[in-house]
Every structure is written in structure tokens, then in C-alpha cells.
């Protein structure tokens, strides 16, 4: 049967001198070429030439980590485009938001994409973390990668929080005022930390400059570095977690027990869970096309969803920031509204102890939970206690966030969403 036109064009191009110099391997036809395609490409070599069938199951990973990565890429691209216009000045920032909306070509849709992708990234990184927990994927040998993942989650929150201030509207100003006030409740260092973040005691030009620098340089660079380590370790730990890892069996074999009539290369000293060790070839398929094409399809899907949201829903932009007219209630960004709800009961316990304890527990989790069973399966019976504790914490956080978002009105009093009055701006 004749190949489709795009394939024929691609085959022709990769056979030309220019095409061969760029791609080295044409459209793979044999198993050797499928391996070469992965190994000889900069972007593809980060992934193995062959991948375990279990890793390809959408029902296992749900693609949540990859979706988070794609959202991060969309944020980098749209963020750089926004940087061409944005000026971190309290005099100009808000006007530039208006200009993006009304006169800059594609300015509105790019800003919308950035905003919605940022919210989605917070959501999907959290969901990815839940997936890793419920499948026990943080257990040995992936303990430290979980810790890096928690760090990436905190960086995601930091990126979103610092970006929240940049439009310099009422929403931005008061959300950051509330958010940094929560940071100020920490004992001993709280006020110093708040002062360090804001460059003063209140949100102003210094805060905008600092948040901008953190948002476009410091936090993205840290996130990229940690992301690189995160992905590297996924590869080095034998890909995604799966049940009954053969690597564990290999680790039990000591080198001195191996036959001595063979000379060993360095690869024999590598850890037992490297992708090459102890894996049944029958369980593996070539990454090209099975993994690469699925990844590309997911990228198209994520792009389509973000574009759809950006075209039909505008990012919020309220009135110009006004330090003497606080809205009532002033609310933090949605992902901190659970914290704000807790703070409304007790500033110290809600703003410091509970979040501090949660982050510490999350970081230490793989070292506290030493049970080796139940890896690579959703809601494994062996992990019922751990799953129950995690679910209770998660549901509590979600309920608190929903209360803070929908059920809190003026003076943080109770309201029902369908009867909620608009936020009152004092002084009007």
C-alpha cells in the first residue's frame, strides 16, 4: 500500500543531504533504526530506546507529569512573549495589561494562555503528586525523586504566586498582601521573611520588582534545574514505577557471586534498577513510535485545551491597584485560600504549624513509610493506612479551599455562593 503523503514527504526530506545532516536517522523502518532514532536525537535521547509496556498505560500514570511539563513549556513560551511588553513598574504595569488586551496583536490570547496554563499547572502538579502517592511510586529507589517533586510543587506555587502580582490590579495587590501577611505569621523569621519578599512593609514598587525578578529568572531557573534532575532520576530509576520491579531482585545478587570467567564493564556496577538490568524484553516495546507518538498527541491535547480556554475566557483584570481601598473580603490566590481559611481560625496554627508540618511530612514521607509492598498499583490493599491518611489530609485541604473560595464573604463571614454579594470596596 502506498504511504500517505506526509510520510512520503518526510521520507524524501530525511534522505536529502540537509535532512540527513539534521535528523541523522530517517523515518525508522527497522528495530535498529527505531533505537537509533531515540539515541541520536538530543530531545529523544532523554528517554530510553525501549520502554516498559506498563509505563504506557494511560490508566496508570494518567499522563499527569507530562501534562505538567507541557504546561510549563507553554508558560515559558507565552511568558517570554509577555516579557517583550511588560514593565515591572507600578506606573505602567496595569496600563500594559490594558494595552495587551486592546491593541497588541494576539496580546490578549497570549496573556490568557499564560494565566490559564499557570492555574492548570498548579492543579496538575498536585494531581501528579496524588497519583505518585496512590500508586506508592515514591518508594525505594525513588525516594529522593519524590522529595524533588515536592520541591517542584512548592516552586510551582511560588511561580504562580509571584506572577499573581504582576498585572498590578486590585486582585493582584490584595491577594499578595493577604498571601505575604500569612508568611508574616511565622515565628521569629515571619516578619523578616515578609520584609525580604516585599522589600518593605507593604506591597509597592519594591515588591513588584522583587516578584518580577523571582518570577522571570530565579524561580524558572530553579524549576528548570530541578525538573532536569527529576526527569533524569525517572530515567535512572528505571522509568515509571511498576509492580514487582525486577530491579529489586537483581539488587539482591552480589557481584562476588557472579561468575569470574567474564570481565565486567562499568555497566555491571550500575544500580540494579537501571533500565537495562533485569527487564524482560517481552515486556518492552520500542519508544519509537509507542512512547514518542503518545507524548506528541498529549502535547497537542494540552495545547488545544489551553488555547480553547484562552480564546473563550479572558484572564481576570480588576481595577488598578489601590492601597487605600481594600476589597472586602481580600482573598489570596485560590490555592492559598485553604490556608487563609485556617488562618481565620488561628494565624499561628493555620498559617505556620499546619502548612509547615504538611510540607515537612511530605518531604519525609518516603523515609517514614518503609513498607516495600504495593508499588505500581493504584490504591494497593497493602497501603490502605497510608492512603487513608493522605486522603483525609487531601479532602480536608480541598474542603477548606472550597470554603475559602465560595463560602466566605465580607469580613470573612459565611455566605452561600448563589447569594454572595460582590466584594465591597471600602471607601467608595
Amino acid at each position: 500500500m502506498k504511504a500517505p503523503l506526509p510520510k512520503r514527504i518526510w521520507q524524501w526530506f530525511t534522505r536529502t543531504r540537509v535532512g540527513r545532516s539534521i535528523f541523522r536517522v530517517g523515518l525508522p523502518e527497522s528495530n535498529l533504526e527505531r533505537s537509533q532514532a531515540m539515541v541520536s536525537s538530543f530531545l529523544l535521547h532523554m528517554q530510553p530506546a525501549k520502554v516498559n509496556r506498563h509505563s504506557l498505560r494511560a490508566s496508570y500514570s494518567l499522563g499527569l507529569g507530562l501534562i505538567s511539563l507541557y504546561l510549563f513549556l507553554i508558560l515559558i513560551v507565552t511568558g517570554v512573549l509577555l516579557m517583550f511588553y511588560y514593565v515591572p513598574s507600578t506606573e505602567k504595569a496595569y496600563d500594559i495589561m490594558k494595552d495587551l488586551q486592546y491593541v497588541v496583536s494576539a496580546g490578549l490570547v497570549i496573556r490568557n494562555m499564560h494565566r490559564w496554563a499557570a492555574h492548570l499547572m498548579v492543579l496538575f502538579v498536585l494531581l501528579h503528586m496524588c497519583r505518585v502517592f496512590y500508586t506508592g511510586a515514591y518508594k525505594r529507589p525513588r525516594e529522593f525523586n519524590w522529595v524533588i517533586g515536592v520541591g517542584l510543587f512548592l516552586l510551582t506555587l511560588g511561580l504562580s504566586f509571584t506572577g499573581y502580582l504582576l498585572p498590578w490590579d486590585q486582585l493582584a495587590f490584595w491577594a499578595i498582601t493577604v498571601g505575604t501577611n500569612i508568611a508574616g505569621y511565622a515565628p521569629v523569621i515571619g516578619l523578616k521573611l515578609k520584609y525580604l519578599l516585599l522589600g518593605g512593609n507593604v506591597v509597592g514598587q519594591e515588591a513588584l520588582t522583587r516578584f518580577y525578578a523571582l518570577h522571570v529568572i530565579v524561580l524558572p531557573a530553579a524549576a528548570l534545574l530541578m525538573l532536569a534532575i527529576h526527569l533524569w532520576r525517572v530515567r535512572k530509576d528505571g522509568g515509571l514505577s511498576r509492580p514487582d520491579e525486577p530491579g529489586d531482585i537483581v539488587q539482591q545478587v552480589e557481584l562476588k557471586q557472579l561468575p569470574t570467567n567474564k570481565s565486567y564493564g562499568l555497566m555491571e556496577l550500575a544500580r540494579g534498577t537501571t533500565p537495562q538490568v533485569g527487564q524482560n524484553p517481552e515486556d518492552e516495546v520500542f519508544s519509537w513510535p509507542h512512547l514518542v507518538f503518545r507524548e506528541l498527541l498529549l502535547f497537542l491535547l494540552v495545547t488545544a485545551v489551553v488555547l480553547f480556554l484562552a480564546i473563550f475566557w479572558n484572564a481576570p483584570l480588576e481595577e488598578l491597584a489601590n492601597p487605600i481601598h481594600p476589597p472586602n473580603p481580600a482573598k489570596a490566590p485560590w490555592y492559598f485560600l485553604g490556608l487563609q481559611e485556617l488562618v481565620s481560625y488561628s494565624a499561628f496554627w493555620g498559617g505556620v504549624v499546619v502548612p509547615g508540618l504538611l510540607v515537612t511530612l511530605l518531604m519525609l514521607l518516603p523515609y517514614l513509610d518503609r513498607q516495600r509492598k504495593g508499588v505500581g498499583r493504584w490504591f494497593a490493599r497493602e497501603r490502605v493506612v497510608a492512603n487513608t491518611i493522605f486522603t483525609v489530609c487531601l479532602v480536608t485541604a480541598i474542603v477548606l479551599t472550597i470554603i475559602g473560595t465560595l463560602f466566605r464573604g465580607p469580613n470573612w463571614g459565611w455566605v452561600v455562593p448563589w447569594e454572595q454579594p460582590p466584594a465591597i470596596t471600602e471607601g467608595h
Binding site: A106, D169, H290, L297, L307, I311, E319
Partner: protein, 181 residues
């Protein structure tokens, strides 16, 4: 899974590729075909219709479709009202429906010195009717189509004082109206 053909992915790639393509086209359409461009094209058609000489017609045809704005740094304003209200300075458009109506007595408060929103309020940077007229959430100065004389006088006096004290004038990024012959 053992099937190494990429053929099974074609349907998904086609569907998602088309979806992204359609969304890009919709995004481009909404960005490119803005409300104010329609008003400017109507104005240009009207100018062409009214042209009495070939030179006037050629001049009208060459009128660019572009954002027109009055920059008022001393008043900390950018008024883009003339992007749609192109004939505010042309008495021959007296009696035309908005947005092509003439603004009477504008010589007393020249647009290039005072802009529009000083007296009329609304949202000067906006380029859609609803947003520019300020009838939208999060804009607390909806447009006053007919200001009272005292309100105008107070606004103009206040603005004139600021302009006079700074000794600077506004700049116009593009002529609000291209005059015929």
C-alpha cells in the same frame, strides 16, 4: 502493542491537529477582525462616497485602518476614542449617527490638549464599545454621553491647569481624521 506501524496514530494526529488548527484560526480571527476596524472601514467608505474629485477619492482610499490615539502624558491618559469616533472634528458629519458623529464646540477644548475621557470619562485605552464606554465590571467611570456644563468646566479647568503648569502638550500617534482635499 507489538504493531510497530505508526498508522494507528494517524487518526488521533489528524483529529487533534485539526482541533489545534481550528482553534488557532478562531484565535486569529477574533484578534484580527476587531470591532473598531469595521467602524473605520465604514468611515472610509463614507469618505469615498462623499469624494467629489479623483484626488479626494484616492486620498480617502489610502486612509489606513489603524489604532488612533491621543497621548496625554501630563494627564496620565491615552485616549483611543478617535479610533472609532473618526469624524469628531469634521462639522460636515453633524447629524450622523455614532460613532461617526461630529462633536460640536470641540474647538473650546481641543482633543489634542484634553483628549476625550477628561470630560466624558469612560475607558480611554479600550477599543471595544462596551469596554471603552466603561459599562463593564471593574471600571468605575462609565461614560457620560452628555456632561453637565459644570462637570465639563471643572474637568477642563483642572486639566488645563495641569497642562499649563507642566508646559507640555499631548502627542498624537496618528491623525484622528484624514481630511479630504
Amino acid at each position: 502493542m507489538n504493531d510497530l506501524s505508526v498508522r494507528k496514530f494517524y487518526g488521533w494526529f489528524t483529529m487533534l491537529g485539526l482541533l489545534v488548527g481550528v482553534l488557532v484560526v478562531i484565535g486569529y480571527y477574533r484578534d484580527e477582525y476587531r470591532e473598531w476596524k469595521g467602524y473605520q472601514r465604514k468611515f472610509i467608505q463614507e469618505e469615498i462616497r462623499r469624494a467629489s474629485t479623483p484626488q479626494q477619492r484616492a486620498l480617502a482610499e489610502q486612509t489606513p485602518v489603524q489604532i488612533r490615539q491621543i497621548l496625554l502624558p501630563d494627564l496620565n491618559r491615552v485616549d483611543r476614542c478617535t479610533t472609532c469616533h473618526l469624524a469628531v472634528e469634521d462639522p460636515s458629519y453633524g447629524g450622523y449617527p455614532q460613532p461617526l458623529a461630529y462633536h460640536p464646540l470641540h474647538e473650546q477644548h481641543p482633543f489634542e490638549r484634553f483628549g476625550c475621557t477628561v470630560c466624558h470619562r469612560g475607558q480611554g485605552r479600550a477599543t471595544t464599545t462596551a469596554d471603552a464606554h466603561g459599562n463593564v465590571p471593574h471600571w468605575d467611570q462609565p461614560m457620560a454621553s452628555r456632561c453637565s456644563r459644570t462637570a465639563v468646566a471643572a474637568a477642563v479647568t483642572n486639566s488645563a491647569a495641569r497642562v499649563a503648569s507642566s508646559g507640555r502638550n499631548s502627542t498624537r500617534s496618528a491623525p484622528a481624521v484624514r481630511r479630504n482635499g
